[in-house]
Each structure stands twice: as C-alpha cells, then as structure tokens.
Amino acid sequence: MKLVIAIIQPHKLDDVMRELDLQEIHLKTVTNVLGCGRQKGVTEVYRGVKEAGTLLKKVRLEIGVNDAFVQPTVDAIIKGARTGNIGDGKIFVLPMEECIRIRSGEKGKVAIG
C-alpha cells in the first residue's frame, strides 16, 4: 500500500479528477494549501497570486492505493496536471503502514478501495 500525495495547480484540479476517474480511482482527499518550489514563489503571467510572502496557492491531493494502482495514479495525475510550465507541482509516493475503514473496522487492501 502506498500513499500518493500530489501538489498541483488549483485550476488543474478538474482535469486531474477526470483522469483519475478514467482510471477508476475514486477515493481522494483534496485540500487548499500554500507553497513554493525552486522558483521561490516567482509568478509567471497568470500563474497564481502570492499569499503570505512568496507562497502561492496550490491544491493538495491525498490518495491511498494498493501497489497495483500506484503507477496508474501517478500517470493520471501527470496527465491531468501537466502544462509544461514552471509551477506544475510534485507527486510524492510514500509507504503506507495500514489503512482502516472506520465504519467496519476492515483493514488493509479491502479497506482502501
């Protein structure tokens, strides 16, 4: 099991959601976040508004997946989020110890999907 965390441009969220749906990856958590990368928050034309200091608005996706779904998830996020410009974001893939469904107490592989 892996936890995929992606930081993307806010306006690409719809595209990423659509790509994930096409891969039948439906379970996800989305939050508004602020961040900056190597450019230290330098904004290109139309690429975002600075928040505090050099921080730019981004959207963060968290998706817990079984091992077979890691690559399709990463591919779908890249397909939806990539513009080729600075600021497209990053994807982190982390090992995940456990996954528990609160309602039923189910654990592991079955609890993810």
Partner: protein, 413 residues
Amino acid sequence: MPAINYGDTAWMLVSTALVMAMTAPGLAMFYGGLVRRKNVLSTMMQSFIILCLISVQWVLWGYSLAFGPDAGHFVGNLSWFALNGVGLAPNADYAATIPHQLFMVYQMMFAVITPALITGAFAERIKFSTFVVFTLLWATLVYDPVAHWVWGKGGWLHNLGALDFAGGTVVHISSGISALVFALVIGKRVGYPKITPAPHNMTYTVIGAALLWFGWFGFNAGSALAANELAVSAFINTNTATATAALAWIVIDWFVTRRPTVLGAATGAVAGLVAITPAAGFVTPMGAIAIGIVVAIVCYTSVAVIKGKLGYDDSLDAFGVHGVGGTVGALLTGVFASKMINSGGADGGIFGNWKQVGIQAIAVVAVIAYAAVVTLILTKVLNLIMGLRVKDEDEAIGLDITQHKESAYTLID
C-alpha cells in the same frame, strides 16, 4: 416657468440614490455570491464599471437619445448632447415639479442597472475588454431607443398607450432577452451542464437580494416622479408582490425539492420585483398579490425546468428571471390595471378593457424582437473582432486573476 416642489425634489433625490444602490452594491453582491470564488471580483467589477461607464455615456449622449426631442417616434435626437439645454428648470413633458436635471439623473440609474442585469448571462467566461465595448454599444443602440419608444415624448409605444410604470419592458424585457441571446452566442461555461458550479457565498446573494428590494422602492415608488399618493401606492404594490413571490417560490421549492431553499426565497423576491415593475403604479394590492403568485410559478418553471431542457447556459438566470418575469409583469399589467389607482393609466382586462392586454403584447413583442436582433448582431460582430470569451485555460484559472490580476480571498491571514 413651473414651480419646483421641494418635497418632490427631496424624494426624487433619495430615489435616485436608491436606484443607484440596486446596481452596486445590490446586483454586484447578488451576482457576486452566485459565481465561483475565482470569479467574484470580475462579476462585481462588471456592475461597478457599468455604473461608471453609463454615468458618463448618459450625460454625453444617452439621455438625449432616450428623452431628447423626438426623431421619427424611434429615438431622441442629439440636440441635448452633453446636457445642452437640460437645466435646473422643470421639463413639464416629463416631470413638472422637479428640476429637469434631477429627472435626467434619476433616469440615468435606470440606464445603469439595465446592462448590469445582462452580466448574469455571460458570467465567469467573458473577456473584460469586449464586455466594456458591448455595454457601451448596447446602451446606445438598444436601451436608449427602447426607453424612447416607451417613455420618450413622441415615442411610438408611448403614443400607442402601452403601460409601463417603472420599466418592465424597457429594463427587464430588453435586458432579459439580450441576456438569452448573449448566452446562446457566447456558449456554455467549460464543463456545463455536467458540472454546475455552486454559488460560492450565498450570504452575499441574500444581502444582495435584500438590497435590490430596498433600492427597488426608489425604482418603482420613485417612478411616480413625485412624493404623492401614487408613490405610496407603487411602494405598497412593490412590497406586496415581492413578498408574495418569495413565499410562493419557497412553497413550490418545498413540494419539488422537499426543502424551502434560501436561494429560492431570494430568487422569488427578485422575480416578484421584476414582475411588479411595470404594474406598480396601475394595480391594487390584490392585483400585486396575483402578479406575485403567477410570476413565481412561471419563473420557477423557466429556471428549473425549461433552462435545463433547452441546455443554454444563462449562468445566473438573467433571462429566466428578468426576461420571463418582465414579460409576465407587462402582460398582467394589462389585466389588472385600474384607472381608480392611476387616472393617467388605463383600465385592464378585469375592468372590461381586454384591448389593453393586446397593446401590452405589442410592446412586449416589439421590444423582444428589437433587442434580440441588435444584440445578436452586436455579439456576432464583437466575437469576430475582439472575441467574446477568454481562453479555456484562463476560464479554468478564473477571471479575477486572468482579467484583473487580483484575488478576492486569501487562504492564510
């Protein structure tokens, strides 16, 4: 020289300010709350900038085209350009007891809100530069002539005897039908109707609707052009029809969606305000209740059923509420009007004069046809020259950042 009445003058100054408040903040907040958070500034900016643009257009040539000396019963001529000859002495053709310039500035606020109503149709995808040019051209080529037809001395609908107390045809039908044409020409928002964007701040929308209601007292009761019995009658009709329509709307809501929605109450109130506008100075309070009920049923059907079936993206229901509600009000004015309320008006159908409904229908059809054709030509030409829409990517990022390089809300601080 006719004498100025200070009571009338005081009331009309206040009414002018009330009608101004309908556009900004009223309509700006009503529409601003209904769009997504990335478009709230651009939507409010549209109402705000129209207030500025038309204020200048009106004193330069708009007032002269609408109310200036008649040219062929179609439009005023330009002899009042830049307020030439429009002074402080009353003009008995329009309002005998207040300064002519006060009548001019009161009418200015009507000319301001009318194009602002259209902005609901192209919200969240219009290019700001094109919007500015469209607004100026539309005000000059559609609003000014239509205002002359109905209200100008010598205008052909005025001569025909069409009743329009405060602007049902001039303001609401003209803007509503133009909104529909614009929505059809500019096309749907990306993703619509699969994704129907939710209002980002309903509290704005409710406050905006309440401000519209407040300002509408100046719009309708002010259209008596005096602080007199007729103004009181229009005031009470306005309030009665609005309250009735809001109640009727949430009752329908309750049956259809199992809940009385807040947006339903706000939308119902605006529909009631629209429908009573042409009738406010001609009907009894019982007529106002009837108009409120009918407009709620018709507009609900148009917004919740017909729009979905036909598939156009009139994003904030400028046509569904103003075009449809204005038509309902204009026709029902011909049914419920009474000379007992306004001796300068006419009796309607229920008082034996069904011919009045026919006259009202002629006015409605004429305004719809003219506004639709001119708006169609304007939008098609502007689409070729300047482009109506922003790029899809800019639409996704939002108009606030792409058109104005600003953002309404921060995440932290």
